[in-house]
Each structure stands twice: as structure tokens, then as C-alpha cells.
């Protein structure tokens, strides 16, 4: 059941209140995030704090001695970074709604396996379906939680308990999954953050060098502008991981892959079998344009829709026969999934 962090007044119940995943909703369903958002606040504090120190200590000096364009560029970059960050964190990553009871029953009937029931340790075989995508065989796995065959490229996020389309990874730093709908925001965030970080580092170091120019000792410069030292240290240590991540995601974008597929090696040839990425547009430019500026898919969970009595009854039926099907009990699916552990910012 979703958590609510701010209680707004409303007349009718909205669908986000019955949402089966573990997501956290704010502002009456307009904002959607992962259940744990602690690291997200760390991200915000680091970016806003470092930028604040930069604007307070370095900008007045540099605007006076070099050019007034420096605070303007810094400000524009900062606004872009924050806007991309909030977009990534607050939007639906591309959650695939769970199956309705009828649909689940239909799929169950299709994949029912004859139980040879001799051994007591009988386990249902992994339920998969193979489809051809542009001539390339792709296995679709059955999701026991969502009761669907996951579409190609989708994966179940165990933290948010949803299947996400074109699942990239669950990113605690932005406090959300990164999937089909918010990958472009995430990429814009990473790349603009790399620019901001390099820009701030360069400005702060320039400031310190200019302060020590007139044969003043370095300690004097530090005393005059302690903020610049702090900013330089934070930026120096974070810039490498941000640049690495930006480079990695640029490589993924140019080849139209996801982090998930790259880690699993989905498109590497194995056992002599020829394998290629069937989702690629064919060339680097096409992939970049399609991933970053292509058609923006809509959110499939109608979280601001009004709950009708039929919808409530349907949800109740789903939760009732959620766990027990075919007299076998299935727990929630645990999937090992990539999380970026690189210290961002």
C-alpha cells in the first residue's frame, strides 16, 4: 500500500490510494517516488549546499575580476540540474499496471503445467515464454507479483514492487526507479551535473589561484575564502564518479541499451550463438535521438483517476487471490538488480 507524506483534502478517493506497489505518493498523487527517499535528500543537500557555497564565496569575486557571465552560467546550470533531478525523482518511471483478475486467470490457464506430482519437492518450472523480436529470440518471464508476462526489456523492481518498462536501474540517489519514462530526465541530470561540477571546480580553483597571486601565502587565501576550499574538495572528489557515470550512460544511450541489459550481457554472443541488440535503431545518432528526444510515452497508471465502486471491487479481488494460485503459494519476486553504488555528487 502506498504511503502518503502530505495529507491533502479531497472529496473522492483517487486511484493512487489503492496502488498495489510500495511507492510513496505526494501532493495527492502528482508526485511518485520510491519508498525510501533518504539518499535523495542527501543528493539535494550536496548539490544545493555546494552550489550555495559557490554562489556565496566565489561568484562575487569572479564576477568582478573576470566576467559577470560566470554567475549567470552557474545559475542556469543549477536550475537545469535541479529541474532534471526533480523530473526524474517525481515522475512515473514507466510502471506496468498489474493484471486484472480476469487477465490473470486467463494467463494462469495458458501456462498451467501438468503436475507430475510424484516428488514431494516438486517446484513449478520457471515460467517463460519465448518471442522473436526482429528475428532475435527473447525470453519473457512471468511475474508472479504482477501476474503478467513481462514485456521485453521490462523488469520487476523489488524495492518499489512494480514491473517497470525498459527498466534501467533503481537509483537511490534520485529516489526512484529509472525506466522508460524518466531515463531521458535522468540522462539530462547526469550530464548537466557533470558540467556543473566541472564548472564549479574550475571557478573555485581559479578563485583560489587568483587570491594567492600577489605572493600571498595560501593560508591567507584560505582564510579569505574558506568556502572555495570546501567547494573545491567536494567537487574534486565527486567529479570523477559523475564523469564516469555520464560517460557510461552516454555509451548506453548510443547503443540503446539499459544498465540492466549491459550488466546481464543480454546482447553478447554466447555459446557460438549470434546475438545483437534488436531494439537498436541501427546507428549512434538514431539511438541518441530516439532515447533522448523520441516520443514521450504516457504514464499507464492512472493515479489521478477517480476510484469507482467497480474499480475498488476489482482491486479487492486482486488482493484476495494475490498469493494463492493453482494451490501453490508464491511469495513476492526477489530480483537481483543493478543499483548505482557510485557516489554521485
Amino acid at each position: 500500500m502506498p504511503m502518503c507524506c502530505c495529507c491533502c483534502c479531497y472529496t473522492a478517493a483517487l486511484k493512487w490510494e489503492l496502488f498495489p506497489g510500495r511507492n510513496r505518493f505526494c501532493c495527492d498523487g502528482r508526485v511518485m517516488m520510491a519508498p525510501q527517499t533518504g539518499v535523495f535528500y542527501v543528493t539535494i543537500c550536496l548539490i544545493a549546499g555546494t552550489s550555495g557555497l559557490f554562489f556565496a564565496f566565489d561568484c562575487p569575486f569572479l564576477a568582478e575580476h573576470i566576467t559577470p557571465a560566470i554567475p549567470v552560467i552557474g545559475c542556469l546550470l543549477f536550475i537545469f540540474v535541479m529541474s532534471a533531478l526533480f523530473r526524474t525523482s517525481f515522475s512515473d518511471p514507466g510502471v506496468i499496471p498489474r493484471a486484472t483478475p480476469d487477465e490473470a486467470a486467463y494467463i494462469e490457464k495458458q501456462i498451467e503445467v501438468p503436475n507430475n506430482g510424484n516428488s514431494p519437492t516438486y517446484r513449478p518450472p520457471p515460467r517463460t515464454k519465448e518471442v522473436l523480436v526482429r528475428g532475435q529470440p527473447v525470453k519473457l518471464k512471468y511475474c508472479f507479483t504482477c501476474k503478467i508476462f513481462r514485456p521485453p526489456r521490462a523488469s520487476h523492481c523489488s524495492l518499489c514492487d512494480n514491473c517497470v518498462e525498459r527498466f534501467d536501474h533503481h537509483c537511490p540517489w534520485v529516489g526512484n526507479c529509472v525506466g522508460r519514462r524518466n531515463y531521458r530526465y535522468f540522462y539530462a541530470f547526469i550530464v548537466s551535473l557533470a558540467f556543473l561540477c566541472v564548472f564549479i571546480l574550475a571557478c573555485a580553483v581559479t578563485h583560489l589561484i587568483m587570491l594567492t597571486k600577489d605572493n600571498k601565502p595560501f593560508v591567507e587565501a584560505v582564510r579569505e575564502s574558506p568556502g572555495s576550499v570546501v567547494v573545491s574538495v567536494i567537487c574534486f572528489f565527486s567529479v570523477w564518479s559523475i564523469l564516469g557515470l555520464a560517460g557510461f550512460h552516454t555509451y548506453l544511450t548510443t547503443s540503446n541499451q539499459t544498465t540492466n541489459e549491459d550488466i546481464k550481457g543480454s546482447f553478447t554472443s554466447k555459446r557460438g550463438q549470434e546475438s545483437f541488440n534488436p531494439y537498436s535503431q541501427g546507428n549512434i545518432c538514431g539511438n541518441c535521438f530516439y532515447v533522448l528526444c523520441g516520443p514521450a510515452p504516457p504514464s499507464l497508471i492512472d493515479r489521478r483517476g477517480v476510484v469507482t465502486p467497480e474499480y475498488r471491487a476489482e482491486q479487492k479481488r486482486v488482493s484476495e487471490d494475490c498469493v494463492i494460485t493453482n494451490n501453490k503459494v508464491y511469495g513476492t519476486v526477489k530480483v537481483v538488480q543493478p543499483q548505482d553504488r557510485l557516489p554521485l555528487v
Binding site: R30, A84, P97, V131, L132, V133, P295, P297, R304, E310
Partner: protein, 140 residues
């Protein structure tokens, strides 16, 4: 994003037979539905009518997901404004979904409802499948 869609008033009844048209992934992950005629509907519907509906829906979705120049311009413009433009405008995809909803309700009125069938807008099923309910046949 905030517009509520779906068929709040005339959704399918819960206890009737349902036929599901699955997605066709042969051309990639774009939305496309299989045009194979389900045998359960053999006595209600003829094959060309069914195929016309599915093909038309597939065309609407192909239009929505086509990587055309205008969608690229839309995407680039959104990026340049720091994605703030999405607060006030509707995307090309959402406009196409509106067309799909209109087409589904028109097909229901003209073709499906007179034959005791009901087509459900695939958007309300997460674009996973098209649901056709046989209204006067109980679920098996």
C-alpha cells in the same frame, strides 16, 4: 498527465467471458497487437471487421510512437526548457491516445455493442492487451 481517462461509467461487467488480444513484439517494443482472429468470437464477428479494428488501433499506436521530425523537435524543445514545458502542454503521444479512446468508443457503438461484445480501451489495461468482453456469455 493529470487527466483521468478510462471508462468509468461503462466498463465491462465482471462476470462474463473475456477474450484477450496479446501484444505482438516481432518489430520491437512499440505497441502493436496480434491480428490473429480469436476463435471464441467466430459466431459474433467476421474476420475482416475484427482485423480492421486491430489494424486501425495498431496504426494509431504506430503514429504515436513514430520517430518523426515533429516528435524530435518536441523532445528537444522540452529538453531545452529543462522539461518544464510538460507542465503546460500535452505530448503527441497523449493526443494519439485520445484518438484511440474516441475510435474505441465509436467502434463499440457501431460494431461491438450491437453484437453483444465490448471492446476495452487498451490504455486502461496498461497497453498490455485488448480485452473483448462477450457480454451475454458467463465466464467459463
Amino acid at each position: 498527465m493529470s487527466s483521468s481517462r478510462g471508462q468509468a461509467s461503462n466498463g465491462p461487467p465482471p462476470n462474463c467471458q473475456k477474450v484477450f488480444i496479446q501484444r505482438d513484439y516481432s518489430d520491437g517494443t512499440m505497441v502493436k497487437f496480434q491480428t490473429r482472429f480469436p476463435t471464441e468470437l467466430g459466431d459474433r464477428l467476421d474476420r475482416p471487421t475484427f482485423e480492421y479494428t486491430i489494424n486501425q488501433l495498431n496504426n494509431y499506436f504506430a503514429e504515436a510512437e513514430r520517430a518523426s521530425c515533429s516528435t524530435y523537435c518536441e523532445g528537444c524543445l522540452a529538453c531545452l526548457t529543462g522539461y518544464l514545458i510538460y507542465i503546460c502542454t500535452e505530448t503527441h503521444y497523449e493526443k494519439c491516445l485520445r484518438k484511440v479512446a474516441k475510435f474505441v468508443s465509436e467502434q463499440n457503438d457501431r460494431v461491438y455493442r450491437p453484437r453483444g461484445l465490448l471492446l476495452t480501451d487498451p490504455t486502461t489495461r496498461g497497453l498490455r492487451l485488448i480485452e473483448i468482453s462477450v457480454l451475454d456469455r458467463p465466464a467459463s
